[in-house]
């Protein structure tokens, strides 16, 4: 690989303060050898044009800030390699949420759904002096669930969420719901299931599996949703 290379971008731009409507901007930037990830390239681009706006923080895939639509697929800029990326690199905001500016979206609806599943442990027993015990096997049930970084790649790639963002909890929220249903320390199983028993909140998931395809942490919301549906079914019979 040569040390300097120029890459082409096509970026969704919109500043409500000055633009009547959004447009796609063609722009290129020369990268240094140390620019390995898409986020590095965006930072380089921003040094050239400081009006380009995007969220970013940890740059290592744990904070969930820099989710965007990259060449048609949702992902994190910081985990997207520049080595084999197709040019021009087309960047758009996450689909289905209101755009605030450039690739920055308003995530209110996404977090509202997350909050709606009561994303906290419910255990009404008096707190013991020491930790509540949990076997390593029971703890393992939480693997693949608790690691979610709330980046919204999944929910904003889900057609059911696009249609009903106000009624369907969406893959991220449902993954979190199952994280608490699966926790042996949690006592609110039936309350949690009641909260999801509705034609929209849970059952709008039609196993399209876009969520699984895009999750930058390799989590599987569809599987978790299937398990919630199983619990519902077992409860009904």
């Amino acid at each position: 690989m040569s040390s300097k290379r120029t890459v082409q971008f096509k970026i969704y731009r919109y500043d409500p303060d000055k633009d009547d409507k959004p447009y796609m901007q063609d722009i290129s930037v020369e990268l240094e050898e140390s620019d390995k990830k898409l986020l590095d390239a965006l930072v380089r681009l921003k040094a050239k044009d400081d009006t380009l706006s995007f969220r970013r923080s940890c740059r290592e895939g744990v904070c969930g800030s820099d989710a965007m639509n990259i060449n048609g697929k949702n992902g994190l800029a910081c985990l997207t390699s520049m080595d084999d990326i197709v040019q021009p690199i087309t960047l758009r905001p996450l689909p289905g949420l209101p755009v605030i500016r450039d690739v920055i979206v308003d995530m209110t609806q996404f977090f509202k759904q997350y909050h709606s599943i009561k994303p906290y442990l419910i255990n009404n027993d008096p707190a013991p002096e020491r930790e509540r015990l949990q076997s390593p096997e029971d703890r393992e049930e939480l693997n693949g669930l608790y690691e979610c970084i709330l980046c919204a790649c999944c929910s904003t790639s889900c057609p059911s969420f696009w249609w009903n963002p106000d009624k369907f909890v969406g893959p991220a929220g449902l993954l979190a719901a199952y994280r608490f249903l699966a926790d042996t320390r949690d006592q609110a199983t039936s309350e949690r299931l009641d909260n999801l028993e509705d034609p929209y909140r849970l059952f709008r998931c039609h196993s399209i599996m876009n969520c699984v395809d895009v999750c930058p942490k390799n989590l599987n919301p569809t599987k978790a949703i299937g398990k919630i549906k199983d619990m519902m079914l077992r409860r009904a019979v």
């Binding site: 009006t51 800030s65 994303p119 509540r132 076997s135 390593p136």
Partner: protein
């Protein structure tokens, strides 16, 4: 420009571990609280902590707080205040168990207790053998902790102001703190948050260095705001360089890797730590390991074509252990080093990681400053906790896993102090000065109108390169001196930053310019304090400090067993004594000794 005013019982700035832990105390006590945060809470940098949180639960190996206290004082190279350290280690079990009750998914031992692993500098029986003291959720402890704390705050109905950037501290003529000004990033509007109590939990400023494990957001906002408001910064010369940042990328590889059995090797494959720390070897304290690595590299034993890094080896661990205990590290190695650690060695270098100094506080979380001949007088209405604060428990060098413990213990303590001051009626809503928002509005106006100014990106880069070159792992008298001149020049340039983006909406160019003002305060404090401290202690090691019987390892207790206080105004230094006295009679002071591992 008209400025909106909002009134609260308390305002907390920052929603990482410390801010969220403090917020819980206030919300649960029914105080009307605003938590300001420039990122959604779970995006705060606590999320990136990996290896664990210290507590002497003794779930796997025998342990007690006395040993933890000894390790922490020794780790601090005796610069830590022993009252605050005693307070922290005694509270550790309580705050960790509390977190488990909140739902934190700790790994488990076979009998169902919280899993604990060994960590650098933590020992049994006063330095004898490694102890399993780090309570861990795989290698994602910070993520699990931050989410658990956020979730508990959702339950407690805490009121968040998400994507609001605090700009300046508001003080009255008496010096009391009355709140902050803050800018809503979506609209660019400035508001006054008027409160009876203000808690800073704004994290560190690791982005003053070119190579850092820290997130982009770690720009020392609270520390900068405090410095500009006339509050001195304590012990800012002490910066932790974490031994294992991914070479080239800077991304953190937890010390937990070595806790699980990982070994550092030089180019010839030698386990070189045996030569530097015969007892704890790869699990010696971070400053010791970082210096050993740098020495290996400087003496030509580094790996790679440029011989500029060393190698972290876990190939002898089973793939099952790696996948179970270190799954995140495997991901990071593949992503950022192009190496699967099951099969190959990870290239690592010491990388700036943690700010030991900060806003001076006592163990209750009150901000304390010298006044009328007294050294530690609380500022009315002002509290701080976590990395932005200096209690001081880490002194000259922090032990791994003590940072997550610090933010839990002191986040809670600051919250408790505020609640008790509030309930006793001690806290009052004092009248705002007429000009409360003027400084902030002037900063915004300057950015609007500046012409012929300096590029934010360029000035920041110059600051980062200067810090990296002049105040690194090893420090040299002449290089530090030159560094002071250079950083003061950079600071002058930072006063004239210019941005092209003039939008009101989500103007990140403006945010970065405002952040640079904070970073610059931290950079100046660091360089000036480091140049002045003529000894080696913990993470501050200089070439002209002689290692002899009088000053072991170059540490000069006779002249330098004291905390630095740096004032932004006049670039002035002051000092105050270290508290060598524990807070209770439960423990004897840990006597000064030469530090070896």
């Amino acid at each position: 420009m008209k400025v909106a005013k909002r009134t609260f019982d308390a305002v907390i700035v920052g929603a990482g571990g410390a801010g969220l832990r403090a917020a819980l105390q206030l919300s649960e006590a029914g105080m009307k609280t605003a938590v300001l945060t420039k990122v959604f809470p779970t995006r705060s940098h606590t999320v990136a902590a990996q290896g664990g949180v210290a507590a002497s639960l003794g779930n796997s190996t025998e342990d007690n707080w006395h040993w933890h206290m000894y390790d922490t004082v020794k780790g601090s190279d005796w610069l830590g205040d022993q009252d605050a350290i005693e307070f922290m280690v005694k509270k550790a079990n309580e705050v960790v168990v509390e977190l488990e009750h909140y739902g934190m998914p700790f790994d488990r031992t076979d009998n169902g207790k919280i899993y604990q692993r060994p960590f650098g500098g933590h020992s049994q029986n006063y330095g004898q053998t490694p102890v399993s003291r780090s309570c861990a959720a795989a290698d994602r402890t910070g993520h699990a902790m931050l989410h658990a704390l956020y979730q508990r705050n959702v339950r407690a109905n805490t009121q968040f102001f998400v994507e609001w950037m605090a700009m300046d501290l508001i003080r009255n003529a008496n010096g009391d703190v009355l709140g902050v000004t803050a800018m809503e990033m979506e609209t660019g509007e400035v508001s006054i948050f008027h409160a009876k109590a203000t808690i800073f939990a704004t994290g560190g400023a690791g982005r003053i260095y070119y190579s850092s494990t820290n997130a982009f957001i770690n720009t020392g906002d609270g520390v900068g705001m405090a410095a500009r408001a006339g509050i001195p910064l304590e012990d800012m010369e002490f910066w932790q360089f974490h031994p294992t940042g991914v070479a080239g990328a800077g991304v953190l590889i937890t010390e937990g890797v070595r806790g699980e059995g990982g070994i550092l090797r030089n180019a010839s494959g030698e386990r070189f730590m045996e030569r530097y720390a015969p007892n704890l070897k790869d699990l010696a304290s971070r400053d010791v390991v970082s210096r050993a690595m740098t020495t290996e590299i400087n003496e030509g034993r580094g790996a790679g074509s440029a011989k500029d890094h060393v190698l972290l080896d876990i190939t002898h661990l089973s793939p099952e252990t790696i996948n179970k205990r270190l799954p995140g590290i495997r991901e990071i190695s593949i992503q950022f080093a192009g190496v699967d650690p099951i099969k190959a060695l990870i290239p690592v270098v010491p990388t700036c990681h943690y700010q030991m100094g900060g806003i001076p506080t006592n163990y209750k979380g009150q901000v304390v400053v010298p006044k009328d001949g007294e050294k530690n007088v609380p500022i009315v209405g002002f509290y701080a906790a976590g990395e932005c604060a200096c209690a001081s428990v880490h002194g000259a060098n922090r032990l791994g896993t003590n940072s997550l413990l610090d933010l839990l213990v002191f986040g809670k303590a600051a919250g408790e102090t505020v609640v008790s001051d509030f309930q006793s009626g001690q806290l009052k809503l004092q009248p705002l000065p007429e000009d409360a928002a003027d400084v902030s509005l002037a900063r915004i106006a300057r950015l609007e109108t500046q012409t012929g100014g300096e590029d934010v990106h360029e000035v920041r880069l110059e600051m980062q390169r200067t810090m990296q070159k002049h105040a690194g792992v090893f420090r040299f008298a002449d290089v530090l001196k030159e560094g002071v001149t250079k950083i003061m020049d950079v600071a002058e340039r930072a006063k004239r930053t210019q941005i092209k983006d003039k939008s009101k909406v989500w103007n990140t160019a403006r945010t970065e310019a405002l952040e640079l003002d904070n970073l610059i305060e931290v950079a100046k404090a660091t360089m000036v304090s480091a140049e002045a401290r003529k000894e080696s202690r913990g993470a501050h090691v200089r070439d002209d400090a002689l290692d002899c019987a009088e000053t072991p390892n170059g540490r000069d207790d006779k002249n330098w067993l004291k905390h630095t206080l740096w004032y932004s105004e006049g670039n002035r230094l002051d000092y105050k004594p270290v508290n060598l006295q524990p807070m209770s009679a439960d423990v004897e002071p840990i006597a000064l000794a030469k530090r070896t591992y």
